[in-house]
């Protein structure tokens, strides 16, 4: 189970609304390398992990990603307050507005809705951890791109925090991969699929 704490992991206080920026940031809400996918990927993969360290790691990072999902949601919310129809039209937010008004919806920057096909649970520790390592790097690149496109310090500060978290998670998953290969048969890591076969003694 989970307990909700009524605070953000890192403060989000954006003074100036900007729907064009909201659309850019939205990619980390419901895009292919966004926080929602990250959370659901790790929280689903954890069941077939072969050792307790990895079950813990995926549970904890999957939980932290939900806090990041909330931070991105807060940013989108604050960037789309008190807009005029003219601002919505001028800043290219009209296509989103007509479908969702200024509600926060899990879609990519392009408008493509979030889909579970962005994520995989392979039921194999090596396949899943390598996906996780790649996912953290892809999310880091998305944050790099957001930092290239936006110049409001109120947005840059929490985005930089989130970018750093991707790097820390990548580091922890790398250690997790090392723990996994130490646990598996060192002569042949690929000998069995830990979610299905019994380990060879």
């Amino acid at each position: 189970m989970w307990i909700y704490e009524k605070k953000l992991q890192y403060p989000v206080k954006i003074k100036n609304p900007n729907p064009a920026y909201a659309k850019i940031i939205m990619d980390q809400y419901g895009g292919p390398d966004g926080e929602l996918g990250a959370s659901l990927r790790y929280l689903s993969q954890r069941y077939s992990m072969p050792c307790n360290e990895l079950k813990g790691l995926l549970t904890d990072i999957g939980t932290e990603e939900l806090a990041h999902f909330e931070m991105i949601g807060a940013m989108i919310y604050q960037l789309t307050r008190n807009l005029s129809c003219e601002e919505i039209r001028k800043q290219g937010f009209d296509a989103y507005f007509v479908t969702h008004t200024t509600g926060v919806y899990a879609a990519a920057s392009s408008g493509t809705p979030w889909t579970a096909s962005y994520i995989q649970t392979k039921g194999d520790v090596l396949a899943d951890l390598h996906e996780d390592l790649a996912a953290e790097q892809k999310a880091r690149v998305t944050y790099d791109n957001i930092l290239r496109l936006i110049d409001d310090p109120d947005i840059l500060d929490p985005i930089k925090f989130l970018r750093e978290r991707e790097i820390v998670h990548y580091q922890r998953f790398g250690e997790g991969l090392r723990i996994a290969t130490d646990t598996l048969d060192s002569k042949n890591y690929y000998l069995y699929n830990p979610s299905f076969d019994k380990p060879v003694k």
Binding site: P11, V12, D60, E70, A74, Y77, R172, E175, G176
Partner: protein, 81 residues
């Protein structure tokens, strides 16, 4: 200028963050005694700050408050202090 409430929230978030970062580290280094000690220190400080914050500004979880206080205090995505 930060309000007293925002300052206290930042101090709480910083301590919680330190504790959380150590917690993730301990997932892959569970026997690192120094990290366990540091985790205990930051968790204890976060607990104190959380109690202080909740006493002044209302509950942060439904385990520490209910009803009127829980619902009426601002939600975290609202930037108003």
């Amino acid at each position: 200028m930060l309000t007293e409430k925002a300052k206290l929230m930042n101090m709480l978030s910083a301590e919680q963050f330190a504790a959380w970062e150590l917690h993730l580290y301990l997932d892959t280094h569970p026997c690192d005694k120094n990290a366990v000690r540091m985790h205990e220190k930051h968790s204890a400080r976060a607990k104190e700050l959380r109690e202080e914050y909740e006493k002044k500004y209302g509950p942060l979880t439904t385990r520490t408050g209910e009803g009127c206080e829980w619902v009426k205090a601002p939600w975290p995505w609202e930037k108003g202090e």
